[in-house]
């Protein structure tokens, strides 16, 4: 069971820079060949909470995470992290990929690598491993962990960076229910500590459990952005209604 009392105090220097959020996306476009995936997307995200990005397969949800994280440049449009230069903004975020990319090292060495990459003390390593329920596997090769354990390690590595914003790209896809709940519990704890969550998911139940607000993507644009309760009780957009009814969304 994860330990909710995790603290990374001492790992990172105290923050003096202006807050990273709000995030403003304006006219964001990205395509492959002649087909635009994102087509002039506008989006504003506030400073706190858990935003879930939803939409049909191929809607461009994961692309949005990669764009805002600075992994790929847009074809057009702007990404404004409250005036923070893009490179500096990336260093203040962490991204958990759908398929965890773990180094060919032990569990502990994977975390040490993240601490070293950002010049942080590795003092919180053991507490972090305990927090994600991997303390007893610290010396094991990371790639021999189960799928759920690998994703928890990837999440721990992201938290080791002490991010202000945690980007999660379907981190619980293809995990069993117990593993899903553990990931959600760890994410909820990060949220409680003030980490801003931007989370891509297909899991409506997960969105109901975790989201403060929902961004629904369709046709390369934001079809709807509303509070989670409102989105699920009375979706305002036609594509969102179809999606929640289980109908195909174009």
């Amino acid at each position: 069971m994860p330990d909710a009392s995790l603290t990374l105090a001492g790992a990172a220097p105290a923050r003096t820079a202006p807050p990273l959020l709000p995030l403003k996306l304006r006219g964001l476009s990205l395509g492959f060949g002649d087909a635009p995936v994102l087509d002039g997307l506008d989006l504003d995200l506030g400073p706190t909470g858990c935003t879930m990005i939803m939409g049909a397969n191929g809607a461009g949800k994961s692309l949005i995470l990669r764009l805002v994280h600075g992994l790929i440049p847009p074809d057009a449009g702007s990404i404004d992290w409250n005036g923070t230069p893009p490179a500096a903004a990336t260093r203040r975020q962490a991204l958990v990929f759908q398929k965890p990319v773990l180094l060919r090292r032990s569990v502990a060495a994977n975390l040490d690598f993240a601490f070293r990459a950002r010049g942080l003390s590795r003092a919180p390593r053991d507490a972090l491993l305990d927090h994600v329920g991997l303390a007893d596997k610290a010396r094991q090769p990371a790639r021999l962990l189960s799928g759920g354990e690998q994703q928890r390690l990837a999440l721990a590595r992201a938290l080791a960076l002490d991010p202000e914003v945690l980007l999660l790209d379907e981190p619980t896809a293809s995990l069993d229910p117990a593993s899903v709940l553990m990931i959600e519990r760890i994410a909820a704890d990060a949220l409680a500590r003030g980490v801003r969550l931007i989370w891509v998911t297909h899991d409506v139940g997960q969105a109901r459990r975790m989201a403060d607000d929902i961004v629904f993507i369709a046709g390369g644009k934001v079809a709807e952005h509303s509070a989670a309760t409102r989105f699920f009780d009375a979706p305002a957009s036609h594509p969102a209604r179809r999606y929640l009814d289980g109908d195909p969304v174009v």
Partner: protein, 235 residues
């Protein structure tokens, strides 16, 4: 056949009794080839890593060149090193011709491209897998190279052993720059060539046996490393 049988028996006897000449030649062979392998790795591994993670104009041509250099003819390498180290050559003042150092230089030139080209392929495959994660972690180029080299360590050991195998078995370069001088630059391959031409098959066969054992040992080591890496999911 009697001659061959006698020669084989004598060869086994030389190996079993630890003949001094045989041991000296084997020791020099290992010293030269291991030194060349280490130097080639120091040059070739970072070079392979840098090319693996870099994108620039002319990269395709560089890859073709790197792959082509893997097939460098040893006698051509020997000739080029000879021309540079001979008294009239630009490096003649160093007095290295017909020394083990000259042989190490020649073998390094021969196998550094092998190490660089093979490691480039290994590291590029690994980098494809890690690239987004590394960019997310904001790694510097130096950190990226270090991480790739460490994570590919088992595969790169195999690359190094391939280089060593090539070095220890070649004869053309070392005979030109080493001169096959008894007690100074005579290594296994040059001694085998010489003793065979003299008709002294016993020493030639004994050295051949040792060379085969080394080749088998290298392959066994490669196989063992692969199995270890696969078992620990580090491959």
């Amino acid at each position: 056949m009697h001659d061959f049988g006698d020669a084989l028996a004598l060869a086994l006897s030389l190996v079993m009794t630890g003949d001094a000449d045989l041991l000296e030649i084997v020791a020099l062979s290992l010293r030269v080839s291991l030194s060349a392998t280490v130097i080639a790795c120091v040059i070739g591994l970072p070079l392979g890593a840098l090319v693996a993670i870099s994108r620039f104009r002319g990269r395709g041509a560089l890859l073709v060149l790197m792959n082509a250099l893997m097939g460098l003819p040893p006698v051509v390498v020997g000739l080029l090193v000879y021309l540079h180290l001979s008294r009239a050559g630009p490096l003649g003042f160093l007095g290295l011709l017909y020394t083990p150092t000259a042989m190490i230089i020649a073998q390094t030139i021969l196998i550094a491209p092998i190490v660089a080209a093979l490691s480039r392929q290994v590291l590029e495959d690994l980098h494809t897998e890690y690239a987004e994660q590394f960019r997310s972690l904001c790694l510097s180029r130096r950190q990226t190279v270090q991480a790739l080299l460490w994570d590919a360590r088992y595969a790169l050991l195999t690359v190094a052993l391939a280089g060593f195998g090539r070095a220890v078995a070649e004869v053309g370069a070392v005979i030109i720059v080493g001169g096959n001088i008894d007690h100074l630059t005579r290594v296994m391959t040059t001694a085998i060539a010489l003793e065979t031409s003299k008709g002294d098959l016993a020493l030639a066969l004994a050295l051949g046996l040792v060379l085969m054992v080394i080749a088998l040992g290298v392959n066994a080591a490669v196989q063992s490393l692969r199995m270890t890496a696969a078992r620990q999911a580090y491959a």
